[in-house]
Amino acid sequence: MHELPIIKTVFNMVMEYAEKEHAKRVTTVYLEVGVLRDFIPEYLKKYWEYISTDTIADGSKLLIREIEAKARCGKCNTEYDINMEDLYNNKCPKCGYDKGELIKGRELIIYSIEIEN
């Protein structure tokens, strides 16, 4: 259920841009979502449908691109993909150090919107 307040924020930001562009309709919203945010795309879409009903975004599509998680090794600075299957035992593939700084995977970005005006 934590998708709902987030979708409200997305909606408000989308409306802000749509109004600036004098949009008659919003047809598509492109989101980038990091996998570590634990957002379920189906819920994001369901809440989007709910919140956009009877607005200029009614019937619009919410398209989601997932961003994989990446870390940078705390010892040798190697960047590596985080294995989501074994999230708590990730190690640097080069030096084996198990503490890394998260550099990707927690994004939540409105990438672009498609409007009609």
Binding site: M1, H2, P5, I6, T9, V10, M13, Y17, E21, A23, K24, R25, T27, L36, R37, D38, L87, Y88, K99, R106, E107, L108, I109, I110, Y111, S112, I113, E114, I115, E116, N117
Partner: protein, 219 residues
Amino acid sequence: MGNIKIIDIKRSIFEDNDKDADKLRAELNDKQVFLLNLMSSPGSGKTTTLIKTINSLKEKINIKIMEADIDSDVDAIKIKESTGVDTIQLHTGGMCHLDADMTRQGLRNLDLEKTDLVILENVGNLVCPAEFDTGSHLNCMILSVPEGHDKPLKYPLMFQICDLVLINKIDVMSVFDFDIEKCKEYIYKRNPKATIIPISAKTGEGIDKFAEYLLNKVK
């Protein structure tokens, strides 16, 4: 059908709130007020922990409390009656978290003159409060023994953002087969910089350590 146009935005959803939270922190710094954001699951013992901690600190520093709940004011009344410190109740109106703007609005109802520490008791929930910076100087969470030592694995973001984790109800560890070393290991995996203090709000064990930790942060 009108013209179709694609607008590039590339803006983070959390950007506005993050900026607002930084602004609020700066405002509080000017007033020399330290804001603690206290989070946990429902029933972890937040209110009892607060009462004991406030009572051991209130002679040394000036404390005010902001209680955030979806509804009711039972916690605020209980804290006010048990400690005598100024307490206000915020109703989030169904929202499962507080953001920086809601925190600022709540703070307006407190007299911050000569206040050293404001403790915000966030909505009982381990997911949403972790996503929104409230503008606090310190994020603290209470994990209670009955919830199990594997909670840091299930709610990674909460443990990543917390500077301080209190493990509460340690007086009943054996009843729940709670492995405190495993729990610490899981917390450090999510956040190597976390400070962990085991406490029992019921017996009072560890409350002095938490109080001392806060005192050092505030002064």
